[in-house]
């Protein structure tokens, strides 16, 4: 008979076993239930990698698909200071590649951080050189960088985006919600060596790029406008200049040039003054170009006809204790001659015949004192007081383009209305928005704002404005072989020191359209503070001619004197 363990020893062993299992059970419950969430997250961190992707910013191209702005992935360089043995040596190696002073790099690399940016969005070539150096503790990630391959071309309209891809100015800002790419966080699986295997949900990995914009602008017309404007501003030693070319039938902007120019690829060192789009943010007193509006209103209201006789008071007329002057002594003249010779007295009398309320109605109808609602940021409404705030001289002053503040865009929009038979169109610069697959998301169609004057009035105005070129102040805007309709303007600026009209600071301008009988473009040229001769007919009209001639050639518009050639075809 064998003697087994005593009952007491059996109980002890059982107890020990139970305790052991109890501990294991407790541990299991702790790991699997109580700490489950925390440990699962820890495990995920070890074998999963979370990466944030941002889709590329959408492309911007001109009306013919020429690229004006696009994103390219370029390297950004970072350092891991905690893993560096000799920050000074690394900084010395990096300095000539990144073009940053060695001391500055060393200061960043000596920080008590595990990650510092050293240079963001550098050139691809710099990235290649850095790869060759193969420095420990220095790494690169790819980030999207905005490129404007045409440099300063159309910069004031395009604007620019910031380091983190957000639109800051111009179209980049106005259409930021369309242009910016989608942000998406993706989980990637890693193997034992830390290599990425493949993502969970493969289709979710690539974030959608931003939408692409197609503009109404033609890069060649834009180039012609910018080139001629730069030459004019340099030649006249002017402070700045603006040219807008618009398609009268649609309101599409073909070119919008502002001088001085800037390169949106390099804006860090510039001030907002440089990138402000003066075509729609700056107001000026238009001077005689406003006579186009008063004349159209007078014709529409039938208070004047082109043949109506107006007395020029021999160049001087007193209104409200102030004297209005003409640039020459004018006697009796027809209403057409008032416009041709740009008579201030004739315009003032026309305004007075119209009366405050009627004239004000036409000023509003032609779009003054309100935004044109162009799809660009920063547009101002200009300055147009209500008649109740007008002084005794205001009616006469506004008739000759004083006491009113307009933008170049408002002026070209007004003259384009006459070119379009009296119908005002809404100006716009973006014609299409497409997604990254090229599917059309939004098409901007020409939008009628209102009819301002009748087709008859518009036709009569065209004839009168042609007279400005053939027999008046705008002779230098004449384009051989084409009928041009237009008006010169020379406005004194307000001297900020005295608060009175300056005798040395002027704005010379010209606005018109061509060919007069079937306009292909309306254009305004504004030269701000030209030195020397400042007449609009002398500084702005020749620019209109040069731009107009080149653009008409480019568009393939036949001259009036062109002999029609019929191409013969022969069937064999």
């Amino acid at each position: 008979m064998t003697v087994g363990p005593s009952r007491g020893r059996r109980y002890v062993m059982l107890l020990l076993l139970l305790c052991g299992f109890g501990i294991i059970l407790f541990r299991l419950v702790t790991l699997q239930v109580l700490q489950a969430a925390e440990l699962t997250a820890k495990a995920d961190r070890q074998h999963q990698k979370t990466v944030s992707f941002e889709g590329a910013r959408g492309m911007v191209s001109d009306r013919h698909g020429k690229v004006l702005a696009m994103n390219v992935e370029v390297p950004s360089v970072f350092g891991v200071p905690t893993s560096l043995e000799s920050p000074s040596t690394v900084a010395r190696h990096l300095s000539p590649v990144l073009h940053i002073r060695s001391g500055e790099l060393e200061r960043k690399l000596r920080q008590d951080k595990s990650f510092v940016w050293l240079a963001r969005k550098v050139e691809p070539e710099q990235g290649r050189r850095l790869e060759q150096l193969s420095l420990d503790g220095i790494g690169m990630v790819m980030e999207g960088r905005r490129f404007y391959p045409k440099g300063p071309l159309l910069a004031h309209v395009l604007g620019f985006s910031g380091m983190d891809g957000q639109g800051l100015e111009g179209l980049e800002r106005r259409y930021d919600s369309h242009l910016h790419g989608e942000k998406r966080v993706t989980v990637l699986q890693r193997d034992a060596l830390g290599r990425t295997v493949f993502p969970k949900g493969l289709s979710e990995q690539v974030p959608t790029p931003g939408h692409a914009l197609t503009l109404t602008v033609d890069e060649v017309i834009q180039y012609i406008a910018e080139k001629e404007l730069e030459e004019a501003v340099t030649h006249t030693r002017a402070r700045s200049g603006t040219i807008i070319v618009m398609e009268p039938q649609s309101g599409a902007i073909l070119a919008m040039a502002v001088s001085p120019r800037f390169d949106p690829n390099v804006v860090a060192a510039l001030t907002p003054d440089r990138w402000r789009n003066r075509a729609l943010t700056d107001t000026y007193e238009p001077g005689s170009t406003m006579k186009v509006v008063v004349a159209a209103a007078a014709l529409e209201e039938k208070v004047m006809t082109p043949g109506s006789m107006v007395f020029g008071e021999n160049g001087h007329m007193v209104i409200a204790n102030t004297t209005i002057h003409d640039h020459e002594k004018l006697g009796w003249m027809t209403f057409s001659e008032v416009i041709q010779k740009s008579s201030n007295i004739g315009a003032a009398k026309t305004g007075m015949v119209l009366g405050e309320q009627r004239f004000y109605r036409y000023l509003q109808a032609f779009g003054f004192g309100q935004r044109t609602e162009i799809d660009l940021p920063g547009e101002v409404s200009g300055l147009l007081k209500a008649p109740k705030d007008w002084g005794r001289r205001s009616l006469a002053s506004i008739s000759m383009g004083q006491e009113v503040g307009v933008t170049p865009l408002q002026m070209v929009s007004a003259v384009a209305t006459l070119a379009n038979g009296g119908v005002m169109m809404k100006p716009y610069v973006v014609s299409e928005v497409r997604d990254h697959k090229g599917r059309l998301l939004k098409e901007v169609l020409p939008q009628v704002k209102r009819r301002v004057v009748s087709p008859d009035t518009a036709r009569t105005m065209t004839t009168m404005l042609e007279g400005v070129i053939t027999d008046g102040t705008g002779a230098k805007a004449a384009i051989p072989g084409f009928r041009v309709a237009g008006k010169t303007g020379t406005a004194q600026k307000i001297d900020s020191r005295t608060g009175a009209y300056s005798s040395t600071q002027f704005v010379g301008s010209f606005l018109g359209y061509v060919p007069a009988e079937s306009p292909r473009m309306a254009m305004i040229v504004v030269i701000d503070e030209p030195q020397g001769e400042a007449w609009g007919g002398a500084v702005a009209a020749p620019v209109f001619r040069r731009v107009g001639e080149q653009v008409l050639n480019y568009l393939g518009v036949s001259r009036e004197d062109t002999v029609k050639i019929a191409l013969a075809t022969k069937d064999y």
């Binding site: 440099g151 290599r195 493949f198 020409p446 050639n553 393939g556």
Partner: protein, 111 residues
Amino acid sequence: MKKLTIVAGVMLVFVFVWERVDVVRLGYQIERLKVQKILLERERDQLQVKFSALTAPERIAKVATEKLGLVPPQQGQVLMVHQPGETPNLSVPPAEQIRLARHVPTGRVSE
């Protein structure tokens, strides 16, 4: 029959293992191709920017005038040739798009 079942079972295990291994192999291959695609797209974008910069009107005009000695056409040197019935490329909106204007009665401003 028994042997056949065992062989079939072993085969199934081999197919299963082979399939798992192949999934992982294809996963790596997909990753490599994706990286290659990204690199090619990056190169394409860089080339597109370069092409766009090289075809800028300003650069072309500079090369044409300074390098090739060309000059802009003078008056009378440009002759437009239109085939009978050909209309110029004017992007005037179609009639239906401006019908608003056409339906507005001719006359005075009604604002």
